[in-house]
């Protein structure tokens, strides 16, 4: 770095890499030449350090606040659009290739499950459902799948290894089978836990029954490669904790919607009863059409009077 020198004989200043032998302007010898110390502040002083830190923090804070507020609307629109895409994804649409907003508007209806029935929801579209489910505001999306079937999409929320998980589970019209799922995560490990966001994992759930014989949510995720019964789905290799998180999320999430999922069956005991113990939705059928759809449990519990 060039230093600045002044020659006391001629009064001129000049720059050089190091102290020269003589002044390049008037030729005076080295004793007349003095180095000019730049008047720069002492960057080690306390005052400078504190000022520097304060100014830096203010600038950075302002910058971040400005960026965040300037981009907020665009980001929220993106998030809403992506959430709609995730719901469509659970229904078997490929969100990368369709016009998400248009397909959503055409195929999906946002409802709230209240006092045993679905009521159309006309507030602003929500992008997170954890808090809503906790407060008892249960959203159910009525929709048609890519194959044209009627389906109900339920949002579920859980915890993985590092952060939150969420997902959308599409169930069929009789509310006893999964038609499709979509899962995603905040910060699971890339290449391991993050693979729950991949299609192969989500597609394993298609066609799985939800309720076991006791009427509990039996659908679950096992260790990778260990899935055996019809209720089990393979987890992700090397991501046991994330897989467990998904299992818990599916169980808790669907349990929260139990009133909705088992809603139709609640009527069963009050009817004349099911002649075909525990088999009502599948074989023989309930005498009352649609009376006990999707609810083997209610039929078992009721002491059937023939």
């Amino acid at each position: 770095m060039a230093k600045k020198f002044i020659c006391e004989q001629c009064g001129q200043t000049f720059e050089a890499a190091s102290m020269p032998d003589k002044c390049p302007i008037c030729g005076a010898n080295a004793s007349k030449i003095k180095e000019v110390k730049s008047k720069g502040v002492n960057t080690n002083s306390n005052v400078y350090t504190v000022l520097y830190a304060s100014v830096m923090v203010i600038i950075v804070a302002f910058l971040l606040a400005f960026v965040a507020s300037a981009l907020k609307q665009t980001q929220e629109a993106n998030v809403a659009n992506d959430t709609k895409g995730q719901i469509l994804s659970a229904l078997g649409y490929d969100k990368a290739t369709i016009d998400v907003a248009a397909v959503y508007a055409e195929k999906v209806q946002d409802n709230v499950f209240e006092a045993g029935e679905l009521k159309p929801y006309d507030g602003n579209f929500n992008t997170t459902y954890g808090g809503l489910i906790k407060n008892g505001e249960l959203h159910v999306f009525t929709a048609t799948t890519a194959e044209g079937e009627l389906a109900y999409v339920l949002p579920v929320v859980g915890r993985g290894l590092w952060g939150g998980l969420w997902g959308y589970i599409a169930v069929n019209e009789t509310k006893d089978k999964v038609l499709g799922t979509y899962f995603y995560h905040e910060s699971e490990t890339a290449g391991l836990g993050a693979r729950i966001g991949e299609k192969w994992f989500q597609d394993q759930f298609i066609g799985k029954p939800i309720f076991g014989a006791e009427g509990e949510v039996a659908l679950t995720v096992t260790k990778a490669g260990a899935a055996q019964s019809e209720f089990e789905v393979d987890g992700v290799t090397g991501a046991t904790l994330t897989s467990n998180g998904v299992a818990a999320m599916v169980k808790d999430g669907l349990t929260a919607y139990k009133d909705f999922l088992g809603g139709a069956a609640a009527e069963c005991p009050s009817k004349a009863g099911c002649p075909n113990k525990g088999m009502c939705p599948n074989e023989g059928g309930c005498p009352d059409e649609g009376g006990c759809q999707g609810c083997p449990k209610a039929c078992e519990q009721t002491d059937v009077e023939q």
Binding site: N44, Y52, A53, V67, E188, A190
Partner: protein, 207 residues
Amino acid sequence: MSKLFSDENKAAFTNPLNLNNPITVQVLGICSALAVTSQLKPAIVMGLSVTVITAFSNVIISLLRKTIPNRIRIIVQLVVVAALVTIVSQLLKAYVYDVSVQLSVYVGLIITNCILMGRLEAFAMQNAPWPSFLDGIGNGLGYAAILVIVGFFRELFGFGTLFGYQVIPQALYDAGYQNNGMMVMPAMSLIIVGLVIWAHRAYNKES
């Protein structure tokens, strides 16, 4: 132009690719090398993200280097890196949402990556912006190269795939071949990094 690509500047760029590789020689950024190398795709994404962020934070710190108080220089570096990463991720979220979803997992890993801090402290604090920029790119690519090597082996032997496509033929599985579950575990990437360092040292014996 010739000054822009002088020997010194070239060295700033090429050294970290080989003789002064951030992972195998400087032994920086090991923990993120464990985290994202179980498959090739995240390894490449992480490598490129670190390259970009290292280059630009190097430039910013290099521009500020004469004003930064010595005693709080690490804090200043950290603030610059964190602010830069946050702003970039906000911009991505607003304008290329899909990319931001892909990268959201890496944001935390990038901010805390020792390569960034290491290069800021070792190079950008003493050098002009342009060489610092080249140093950042060079170190980022050197880092990416090792991640890709590790990711290649882990994905090939751990899943039998590359970039998610099946590479090992089904016939081999039928003959009794099995994917190596160890490869999927983070510990295995340390072992592979160790083997890479061995090969690298053996090849560059004289240095």
